[in-house]
Amino acid sequence: MLVLYFARSAELAGLRSETVSVPRQITSLQLWEEIVKIHPRLAVIRDQVVFAVQQEYVLLGDQLLVLHPGDEVAIIPPISGG
């Protein structure tokens, strides 16, 4: 699946997007842990991010995600628009 990084998370990960393969079914927290394995520096914003899975906000927790190839997951640090 495609992982997008924004703002602070892009800085910590050092890139804006990449393709990552994960099990088709995984909780949002497990998904976060997989991503932190790839980019350990992301750990520092653990309690400040949410996911956007197919452009829907998903908290890090035990919510089960069913991911399909080509799905889009974004790391969403606290927003500051407007």
Partner: protein, 155 residues
């Protein structure tokens, strides 16, 4: 005076060029409306006394547009008499005094447009995936709207 040809419209744009209050207000003006309310967010020259050089905005553009569209839909549910809604947000560098967001709402009477424009900016700050980097003289910081429910750090 067939009001049906003045169908309610949403005007949503994320762009890096300078925003224009003239353009945004013209978008929502309607012969059936007696009121247009606007909100402009501009770049301030300081944050708690610390000198700000400029701001930089970044967006998850496709999702941001979708979230703004949802806000417009909610506005029409809450205030059915609202005619047009326009939300322009600027991305990239925004110098001091320039606009980062302009929201305009038209309605027959002023109460709805005044309430709707406040709802729009409050909800945008809480739900639209846009990020503001504040550049100071010697450092910068990623801001966090207090409206953002997952911003629990003190920063």
């Amino acid at each position: 005076m067939d009001e049906s040809e003045d169908v309610p419209k949403d005007f949503i744009k994320l762009k890096s060029e300078k925003l224009s209050v003239e353009e945004v207000s013209e978008l929502v003006i309607s012969p059936y409306c007696g009121a247009v309310s606007l909100f402009i967010g501009t770049t301030r020259n300081n944050f708690e006394g610390k000198k700000v050089i400029h701001l930089e905005y970044e967006a998850y553009t496709s999702m941001a547009e979708t979230e703004i569209k949802k806000i417009c839909r909610d506005v029409r549910q809450k205030w059915p008499s609202v005619k047009h809604v326009a939300v322009h947000h600027r991305l990239g560098l925004v110098p001091i005094t320039e606009a980062s967001v302009i929201i305009a709402v038209s309605s027959p009477h002023r109460v709805e447009s005044l309430e709707a424009v406040r709802y729009c900016i409050n909800t945008l700050k809480a739900s639209v995936p846009i990020w503001k980097k504040e550049i100071y003289e010697d450092e910068y910081s990623w801001k966090e709207n207090k409206e953002c429910f997952w911003a629990n750090s003190e920063k």
